[in-house]
Symmetry: C2
Subunit: 514 residues, 2 copies
């Protein structure tokens, strides 16, 4: 039987139970921490079994849920729509959970949005209280009882170490061939610790398995729950133009003799713009590319196949169905080029700084002074959260943020006078890129940045009203360091709410204060 | 002669010239980088000579000025008031410079406010263009031509490495006994570099001198310019109560079995609150204290003398006249306990994270969701800048921010609905402390944070109007993640401007939207 080959530790066979039985180990008020990062690598069977127990009225409970990043539908969506989640961190992509967090549907959820790179240590140090149960998806259990992760590492090792009990979900639908892709490091906590001994993107410094004391394991559940692959983000013209502008910036850096993608590793996120950047790199001048990122998309496989990328380090395989098939059919090509790490390592300030990563993150909106909102719509409703963007932006050698200049068919300008929520301050944004162009903000004063951002990044339709605001603010504050008009700085946002668009169509209106 | 004992490199004697002659090496449009961090360790003679050349009408020029942090009056104030500074980074404390930066007096200055820990690498990588001249204050020059720094290290080594030419100011008024306090590290730039091999606060990993190729040295100037000591910040009751609340938090952590000041090094800034915290520690329960900070104040000498502190690492000796005398009269007691480092090391994300520093930084104001403004008055006029606060806050094990609950005799609430400038986001603030109490924000959602901050940190006089705002915002946004009213969130600030106070005295007014 396949499962016997995978559950190679004899002693753990007596811990075998059904998902329904294991779900009964979760009790009201507990804190539960799960494997995975994005939907990849999350437990599925036990969460779904618990959801069914609640849905059918057999049980009623509320839990605190920790995960590496977001989770799959089986967890966040299923649990949030049943009111199971009382408290949640650090990140989400589920619509049902988002509605609950923002008070729009279901039971309220207390959501904390933290830097993903800091989650493991904070959990170990007890900042979020005790972790009662960790649920870890595994592709296999070794003879010694060590766990082979599946498509992501996330915070699994830290969660195991912090947890009182562990439920192992041995997922037979995940490829057993994933064994060997992971490099797991158990970081000690301060103050007694040395450097993380990683100096190269592809270096292995740990073990291919998660260590878990057998006595902590309360259950082993066999699962055949398939992982839903992430659909490829559609390409579009705006993304292609943003990508072209990022490449133009990288080429300018190289031409100026400064380190660029030829010498520094890249961090690249997910979504259509990140995809377009990867596609652009495939046709671009840079070769021997290295990626030091959170997630690995199909585009990185393409770059490896094209001989353009040498190495990719991530904490999660965020591949499409086709991408995962490609990986598994060409294991030998990819095994030496891909490393999956703990998010504490992929998002480590120490390593991002040491390696000199060029960070590329997505903004919801940016203001004319370079502050970035990457989490809250209208300043109040959280969308996904900051994820690892701050880990990379802050410690990178060069921090790039990108966004379309407009959204909602032009009704929303993504360049505004002041962002109503700041996730990345002006001090953490080196380059801002839209499909209109890029603004290289390094070494500029706020007023110089404003001129660059308005003229290079804002959509032409919005430039007149942004210029008018900036000039009025300069005049009213007597040329202060950061000219802002506190009565008017959110006029773009309030106009959107009142008229359905941020755009001022009447030329005379632009010159008037609100 | 004293100077001959200090200028021990024969070959450099032929580079001796007067400050006036050396000042002629500075030409219009140049970028000049100087030693020092705070007024400590900055060059004085050459800057004053240049100022005199400009003041007397002999010369007219504008320069870009880089320094480790702020500088002395001889530099920022003298130059800014004569219009010599065109561009300035990364930090300031000079009133004349501040006025110029904010457009209030003198020639405009383009000021860039960056994380001090990132300045060295950015400069070496050429992000701010070429450095034409570095001016380095030295206490001595060794036989080999290496430079012994004076009261601060700052970015001196990086500036020497980046500069085309170097002017050495050999300051005979600085004690020659400072030799041996410094530990200078020349960090390579990414991508080819290993870990910074520092694992203990007091460890020495470099050399006691700055390395400078003899051929770069364009001038050696003998100086007898005294360094103006920093006056001790006055103690006051509010500072003492803030300090007591910080100590209460640290004791709670220890009692809960979590790492606290007994196990983790402390970062402590300057000013009356930082002083009061040091004083509180002297009488408190913690011993074997270690400091990993930017600046070293008198209070740390007191803690060493009292047997409470074992080690202090800093980049600057920011001592009073009495403190400096005490240091020099008891060199043997202090030499093994104090290390002065490059600011790239003192403010290193890698090291702050590894050591698990407890960061204590000062806020200008904080909002009810935990975002902190530490640089801009009214959101528009910069005061000093962020300095190293972000380096420590982001990478620390625990990030504490502190402020009085009110300023200007109660006319200003330092807890507001929304800060009009964000330097540290909600993601970087673990604990907020005022003289009223502390709010432990770890793991809380924004709405939970708001209740804690209003009830524990805000001044009682402002609590009713903060509660009223928060409740209105919750109602209007339907309990969104971060309830804010964009039309009203700056009403505290606009009320201050219009009425001279943020306070609503009429009870009924509180309930009304603006």
């Amino acid at each position: 039987m396949d499962w016997e080959k995978r559950l190679r530790c004899e002693a753990l066979k007596e811990k075998l139970m059904t998902a329904e039985e294991a779900a009964l180990l979760l009790e009201d008020g507990m804190t539960v921490a799960v494997s995975g990062f994005t939907p990849s690598g999350c437990p599925k069977a036990v969460p779904l079994a618990l959801a069914e127990q609640v849905r059918s009225g057999k049980r009623k409970l509320r839990l605190n849920l920790l995960s590496g990043a977001s989770t799959g539908e089986e967890l966040d969506s299923a649990w949030a729509s049943l009111g199971i989640i009382a408290r949640r961190l650090p990140y989400m992509t589920s619509g049902a959970l988002r509605a609950a967090v923002n008070g729009k549907a279901g039971e309220p959820v207390a959501f904390t949005d933290i830097h993903l790179g800091q989650l493991a240590q904070n959990t170990r140090l007890g900042f979020y209280g005790p972790v009662h149960v960790a649920i870890i998806e595994a592709a296999a259990v070794t003879e010694e009882g060590n766990l082979i992760p599946t498509t992501a590492v996330g915070c699994s090792q830290a969660f195991i170490d912090a947890a009182e009990r562990v439920i192992v979900e041995l997922n037979l639908k995940q490829s057993a061939e994933l064994e060997g892709f992971h490099d797991i490091v158990r970081l000690p906590d301060p103050p007694c610790r040395g450097p993380v001994p990683l100096t190269q993107v592809g270096q292995r410094i740990g073990t291919p398995w998660l260590r878990c004391p057998a006595e902590k394991i309360a259950a082993v559940v066999l699962s055949e729950a398939p992982e839903k692959p992430r659909p490829l983000a559609p390409e579009d013209e705006v993304s292609r133009r943003i990508a072209a502008n990022i490449l133009a910036f990288l080429q300018k850096e190289k031409a100026a003799g400064r380190p660029s993608a030829d010498r520094l590793p890249l961090q690249s996120g997910v979504g259509s713009v990140a995809n377009a950047v990867l596609l652009g790199l495939k046709d671009g001048e840079f070769s021997h590319l290295r990626f030091y990122s959170e997630v690995m998309q199909d585009g990185i496989l393409d770059l490896i196949d094209a001989g353009k990328a040498d190495l990719a380090s991530a904490t999660s395989l965020s591949l499409s169905e086709d991408g995962m098939r490609r990986l598994l059919e060409n294991l030998e090509r990819y095994r030496s080029k891909i490393v999956l790490r703990d998010s504490e390592i992929s998002n480590s300030a120490e390593l991002i700084r040491r390696l000199g990563v060029i960070a590329m993150n997505t903004a919801v909106e940016a203001d004319i002074y370079g502050n970035v909102n990457s989490s809250q719509m209208g300043g109040t409703n959280i969308y996904n959260g900051i994820g690892g963007s701050g880990d990379y932006a802050r410690s990178s050698a060069i921090s790039i943020f990108m966004t379309g200049s407009v959204a909602k068919n032009g009704a929303v300008s993504c360049i505004v006078p002041m962002v109503p929520h700041v996730d990345h301050t002006e001090h953490d944004v080196d380059v801002l890129v839209t499909e209109q162009g890029y603004a290289d903000l390094r070494g500029l004063s706020p007023k110089e940045r404003a001129r660059q951002i308005i003229e290079n990044c804002a959509h032409p339709a919005y430039r007149p009203q942004l210029r008018a605001y900036f000039e009025r603010a300069c005049a009213a504050t007597g040329g202060a360091q950061t000219p802002q008009l506190l009565e008017e700085c959110f006029s773009f946002h309030t106009r959107l709410r009142e008229t359905g668009s941020m755009l001022i169509t009447d030329e005379k209106e632009r010159e008037k204060p609100c």
